[in-house]
């Protein structure tokens, strides 16, 4: 019995360490639930988290915009493709604002001065949340910028763009919801 005890403890400890490594890998793997569901034509409840607004002390969450069509766009000042799509999103904001829609930016892993300067440079009029810890990005399975999620009036994700958006995507996925 005693001869079995020590190897058993070693085996259990080794198994626990291997289990921990596997858990670490699984926990860090991409969350594809949103993409898979939307690709099948389904909808997913939009994750929400109260975050500080860029340049303000107030906190808002995507859920605060329930009842409106939300175009949730993850961006950063260091993201080159974001420069290309920001004017398009600003035009969309002006177009949908009066029809119950809103573009909501989520500034990801950026410094406040850089993000504010970017917003000024591109004349961004829509609000942006500061995802300081990248927690909201994790909820949306965001790994690279830019990414855009269209959320209907019931707070459900109906369309996903992992990459730069274009006018065709926005027209097709946003306008029918207004």
């Amino acid at each position: 019995m005693k001869r079995v005890a020590v190897p058993a403890v070693v085996i259990v400890a080794a198994a626990a360490l291997v289990g921990l490594l596997v858990y670490g890998l699984v926990a860090k793997s991409d969350n594809r639930t949103i993409d898979d569901t939307v690709a099948r034509g389904g909808t997913v409840a939009a994750p929400s988290l109260a975050l500080p607004l860029l340049g303000e002390t107030a906190r808002r969450s995507p859920a605060d915009f329930k009842g409106r069509v939300v175009v949730l766009n993850f961006w950063a000042s260091w993201c080159e493709p974001c420069r290309a799509e920001t004017p398009l999103l600003e035009r969309l904001q002006r177009r949908i604002r009066a029809r119950g829609g809103v573009v909501l930016g989520v500034n990801y892993r950026d410094t406040t001065p850089d993000a504010s300067a970017f917003a000024r440079q591109y004349g961004v009029s829509y609000p942006s949340l500061r995802d300081v810890d990248g927690e909201l990005a994790r909820e949306y399975g965001t790994r690279a910028l830019p990414e855009t999620f269209v959320i209907d009036r019931q707070g459900r994700i109906t369309a996903v763009s992992r990459g730069t958006v274009n006018a065709k995507f926005l027209d097709r996925s946003v306008l029918p919801l207004l």
Partner: protein, 154 residues
Amino acid sequence: MRPLTLIALLLVVLAAPAAAVAQAAPRASLPDIEDEVMCPVCGTPLNTAESPQASRERAFIRDLIAKGATKEQIKAALVDEFGTAVLALPDEGEGVGAAAYLVPIGLVAGLAVLLAFALPRWRRRRPAPSAPAAAPLSAADRTRVDEELARFDR
């Protein structure tokens, strides 16, 4: 001299060394900070990161250094901007991050318990019988050995 004036003078004298120490605190520098923080987007320490995000983070640190911020103030500002992930430390209280703290503690505790049980047993064990001492040489063998050694000396 009035007592209040005396107390004020004493306070000034006592506070002078503290002020001198504060002034002598080393100025924050980029190399000193960038090896202790992460580039959160790159997932690597800032001193090894070469991405545009890392360049912006360095610019942010340089700006704070220019404004006279201390190392701790700069680290706090980085946490405000990028969250705790910017510090090159495992996340406390979160799955794998917590394991980075708990596993070494568990291993040391396990080893201590193992030694606590094993050491008394090892001590109680009787020592193995020692090998029998070699038999003394006979007079004839001793003479032969002496002769052989003498031949080597020649």
